[in-house]
């Protein structure tokens, strides 16, 4: 077993921009109320106006994926009480942000310019906007974060990896706090066409994870940011602790570039590692925020993985997918879902898998159909969840989150 005694890492701020609106609570409240955000087969952030939040210069200097990240970070830092001044030496505060493809809208736009007008008209801002590390760089600049600052790229597992990596940076002493999360803005012609050609997107435009009629994922966009702090430091400064990141597990399938291992062995191991890291067992898990993409392969493999990881408890634990409400936010998904999970645990509610109606043979877990319901917890003192993120390339991440 790999568990060692490591410092605890707490969540003191959360922020989100999602297809359900700006704000972490907006996401939580609308999803638990059964609201979904799909329009024309996608889940955009239609009401997001960058200059409502950023100066014209800031907005021009940021691809949409970075704009989402900045706005989510402002909310998270304000919640942590950091809006005036960070509580630690700036060199002890890092930033690790995940993304799937970075500024692909900028890339596509400038490629159009190159083709149609020639090289001289390509924007000098193209590289600083499109680079996949633009998000973490922008947050570092905006908030004066001078510790380890970088981005993590692992397709749809990136948000989860970013948070896990941030946790480790704190536990290893590289930073006292890390601003982390994920962002994505890939509702672009090339991304859309590419996912369509590989039959990953739902042709019906319906995101109904775990339902027998599921036929692919629906793309969304947005970001979420969490402020993570060394637990001892956060308590010493009297911070409000929203949650603890108790465990992190990460594996690779070594199976196929896009398809998950059908038995879900890698996903199962990620969940077991996260529980082990947390010093917990399946009996302690009150809720699972599934990766639940609404693709045939993921939802079946994830169900198998859950049965392997949780054993007899797999049928007792409510399992739901945020993607039933906001679609798949790719590299932002793991972060957005971690935020949704924190609020679900705090409110002791199991949010629903919207659109789930028809079970499939062998997929017999409690997917929380219909509407949200009160969350029963194994302990009166705490609520514990696993949040899964799996990505093309065979990347599997599980976070174990706990709230009081």
């Amino acid at each position: 077993m790999r568990r060692r005694e490591l410092p605890d890492v707490v969540v003191t701020g959360i922020g989100a921009v999602t297809p359900l609106g700006v704000g972490a609570r907006t996401l939580h409240e609308r999803w638990t109320a059964g609201t979904s955000a799909f329009r024309d087969g996608e889940a955009p952030c239609p009401d997001f106006e960058p200059t409502d939040h950023l100066s014209m210069k800031e907005a021009r200097r940021a691809d949409r994926f970075t704009q989402f990240g900045i706005v989510a970070s402002d909310e998270a830092l304000a919640m942590a009480g950091w809006e005036d001044e960070a509580p630690y030496d700036p060199f002890r505060i890092g930033c690790v942000l995940g993304t799937g493809v970075g500024g692909i809208g900028t890339l596509e736009g400038n490629h159009d310019t190159l083709r149609d007008k020639g090289a001289r008209d390509v924007s000098p801002l193209a590289i600083p906007l499109m680079m996949s590390n633009a998000g973490s760089a922008a947050l570092s600049l905006r908030h004066g974060l001078k510790g380890p600052v970088y981005s993590v790229v692992s397709a749809c597992a990136a948000g989860g990896h970013a948070i896990g990596t941030a946790v480790r940076a704190i536990q290893c002493g590289d930073a006292q706090a890390v601003v982390t999360g994920g962002s994505e803005a890939a509702l672009t012609p090339l991304t859309r066409a590419s996912f369509q050609r590989m039959s990953a997107l739902s042709p019906t435009g319906m995101s109904r994870p775990f339902d027998s009629r599921r036929d692919g994922f629906v793309m969304g966009e947005g970001a979420a940011v969490l402020v993570l702090e060394d637990g001892e430091s956060a308590r010493a400064r009297g911070a409000t602790i929203l949650a603890r990141v108790r465990g992190y597990g990460a594996t690779g399938d070594a199976h196929h570039i896009t398809a998950p291992d059908t038995a879900g062995a890698g996903g199962a191991r990620a969940m077991m590692l996260a529980m082990d890291d947390a010093g917990l067992t399946a009996a302690d898990i009150d809720y699972v925020n599934a990766h639940g993409t609404s693709t045939q392969l993921n939802d079946r493999a994830e169900t198998a993985a859950l049965k392997t990881a949780l054993g007899d408890y797999a049928h007792k634990v409510p399992v739901s997918s945020t993607k039933s409400a906001i679609g798949h936010l790719l590299g932002a998904a793991g972060a957005v879902e971690a935020v949704a999970t924190v609020l679900a645990l705090r409110d002791r509610v199991a949010p629903p898998t919207l659109g789930y109606e028809e079970p499939e043979d062998g997929m017999d877990l409690d997917y929380v159909p219909g509407s949200s319901r009160p969350l029963k917890t194994a302990s009166d003192e705490r609520a514990v969840a696993l949040s899964n993120s799996f990505g093309f390339g065979g990347h599997n991440v599980t976070l174990c989150l706990e709230t009081a």
């Binding site: 100066s55 014209m56 210069k57 800031e58 021009r60 200097r61 001289r120 008209d121 924007s123 000098p124 801002l125 600083p128």
Partner: protein, 81 residues
């Protein structure tokens, strides 16, 4: 002021405004630093100026261009040459 200079002035000022500089602070004497214009803004400005006036702003020449007025004078001079 010639029509040419007015057009050039318009190009420069409108570009700087579109980059996010405060319109009220864009004067002939304003340095790039004072109106928060950096190397990336100047690269964009050079693009617009070349498109609209056929004048290249690049390399060593840029070291002499430190204010809004410097830029307008430089473009006017090159265009007349």
């Amino acid at each position: 002021m010639s029509t040419n200079t007015t057009t050039i002035e318009n190009t420069v000022i409108e570009s700087l405004k579109s980059f996010g500089a405060d319109a009220g602070e864009i004067t002939y004497d304003a340095t790039w630093e004072s109106i928060d214009v950096d190397s990336l803004d100047l690269a964009e400005l050079a693009q617009v100026v070349e498109d609209e006036h056929g004048v290249k702003m690049e390399g060593e020449d840029m070291k002499q261009i430190n204010t809004v007025g410097d830029a307008i004078a430089f473009i006017t001079e090159k265009k007349a040459a």
